[in-house]
């Protein structure tokens, strides 16, 4: 909240990032910028290196070469203390939730607060319960263990934990994968709300066309180790790089565009 929003300021910038596993080159000299307070999505085929790129941004993995700056800090030359301080400024929601099985949902959400602040336990519980309801979960869920939750509840709880310390930056890995359309729509709504409310910068990996059309500001298409296209969905739609066309021209791509009101129905079904 206390960060002034300077439009177009890059919160994440990648320069000439290359990643190789053995002799398999996943990224080759990739450049990318994410601006403050935007909802940014990474898309691309399976194995195109989206998750790997995300892991590199959140200090879980190092690129083979190139530089990554997040929130103005160069990840390459980072001491242990600086890394810790930086990690508190972002929240991550993992694809499988990453909730701790031995803690209740409420304890999971309160954990970052307990670890990194001096707040009293009572207050932490209240804040955790509040975050829980912010993400749309019923209060009773707080007392449950992660193994007792459905997939959608798990994602929401995981999101609530990622938000515990009011991060400036939020990373979401496949936030709607495996959810029913209703829950997925709930997540769309939530992402939008969070951005509006906290001025969050949100970086996500998703294949969910609805989510892409409804909430993202800019989308990067990853293929063959490079960013093949970058822009809003409407802009991407007009590009004719094969990797991008593939994405829009499938039957599902068309359906989602229609829904978003991007193309008239007539064109979509000429036969």
């Amino acid at each position: 909240m206390q960060n002034q929003i300077i439009p177009d300021e890059a919160v994440i910038s990648l320069r000439k990032v290359s990643t190789r596993f053995g002799d398999h080159l996943v990224h080759s000299e990739l450049d990318l910028d994410v601006r403050r307070a935007e909802v940014f999505a990474l898309i691309g085929g399976s194995g195109s290196g989206k998750s790997t790129l995300l892991r590199e941004m959140i200090l879980l993995q190092r690129p083979s070469s190139g530089t990554i700056q997040v929130l103005g800090v160069d990840l390459h030359k980072l001491g242990a203390d600086e890394a810790r301080a930086l990690r508190l400024r972002w929240g991550v929601m993992f694809q499988q939730g990453g909730l701790f099985g031995s803690l209740t949902v409420k304890e999971n959400i309160g954990l970052p607060l307990r670890e990194h602040t001096q707040l009293r336990d009572g207050l932490i519980d209240e804040i955790a319960a509040w975050k829980l309801s912010l993400t749309g979960l019923a209060p009773e869920v707080g007392a449950q263990y992660p193994s007792e939750l459905s997939g959608g509840m798990m994602k929401r709880a995981s999101l609530a934990r990622a938000l515990a310390l009011d991060p400036e930056l939020l990373f979401l890995d496949e936030p709607t994968a495996g959810l029913d359309p209703d829950s997925a729509a709930g997540i769309d709504e939530l992402v939008r709300k969070l951005r509006d409310l906290f001025g969050l910068t949100i970086v996500m990996i998703t294949h969910d066309l609805d989510l892409l059309w409804q909430v993202t500001d800019r989308v990067a298409v990853l293929a063959e180790g490079k960013v093949q296209g970058l822009g809003s969905m409407t802009e991407l739609q007009k590009m004719d790089t094969p990797a991008i066309r593939q994405f829009f021209d499938g039957p599902r791509g068309r359906a989602a565009q229609q829904q978003a009101g991007q193309i008239p129905t007539l064109v979509a079904s000429p036969f």
Partner: protein, 373 residues
Amino acid sequence: MKPSSVPPAIAQPTSREIMLSGAWTVNGVDAIQSQLDAFVPAQTALDVDGAGIEALDTAGAWILHKFLARLRDQGAVVEVHNLRSEFARLLEVVAEHVADQPAPATSKSPTGFAHIGRNTMAGMEQTVALFSFVGASASAFGGCLAHPSRFRWRAILFNIRSAGFDALPIVGLLSFLLGIVVAYQGADQLRRYGANIFVVDLVGLSMLREFAPLITAIIIAGRSGSAYAAQIGTMSVTEEIDAMRTIGIEPLELLVLPKIMALVIALPLLTVFADVFGVFGGMIMARAQLGVDFSEFIHRFAKAISVTAYLVGIGKAPAFAAIITVIGCFQGFRTKGGADSVGRQTTRSVVQSIFLVIVVDALFSIAFSALGI
């Protein structure tokens, strides 16, 4: 968020006005809590001036909201002015979700009798479950006997290797050391009576009848029983067991029977191996401490130690094997939840199988003495 230098503060320039200032963020708000709690409004109409608030996060907003709500509950008419628009919105959102706060936790930890009762019930439930698991395994075994092609021979051979053959070095070493210890402990007493040669009886009988089967079973419980529990536990956490059932593979047939059969074969063999190394350890100690050389030792061994002693020891091994695998697999299947539960069930499997092995060993001793073996 970035630590802010200005701590949150509250001031009351006039009885009507309340001025808030500083950074109301997670790092500082704890300090102001007591001040807010102690605050008593001087009159019913209050103006809160939020112009001085330079940072507000959800923790700060939560505390502020609670404060304002308390004032309103006490009958004050509170108006908030000059709050930055984004802060005002955050405060609104906090208020929106506040109705959803859960009722305070009511679960009490059980005391006294309730606690005992609960534990007893849990213990009984587990015993019943264990018996039904044994029953299910037995009926799966019966099913396989009727259709021998359903036995998983590859899995059995694989388990014989991993639980039996791969354990040879550790079993050999430990029983060798145990033989040394037994001979050494006896040496002093025997020498005092000039009964040096009886070290053979001591080592031979104790190793063959008791120590070799026991140490082998304990090693295998720690080594393989825990692995069974962890493997099956992890598989049930990741829904592999459920997947197996859906595909039409009976988990008991694929995971449990091969393990039981493999260990029932491997454990007696390992016990023989332990016998040999244990006696060998005793032999070395007997020569060093008591001057009983190898040929003398072996000569006496053949006379003093009956085949019964050897068979009694080996005969216990299959029972131990069954206990170790059944408990290991049973605890694995009882895993519920996540990684945490896998660890707990694994520990439980090792503790329970060693416990049961020793109990059953004692029962064997009682039975043998009643039978005069």
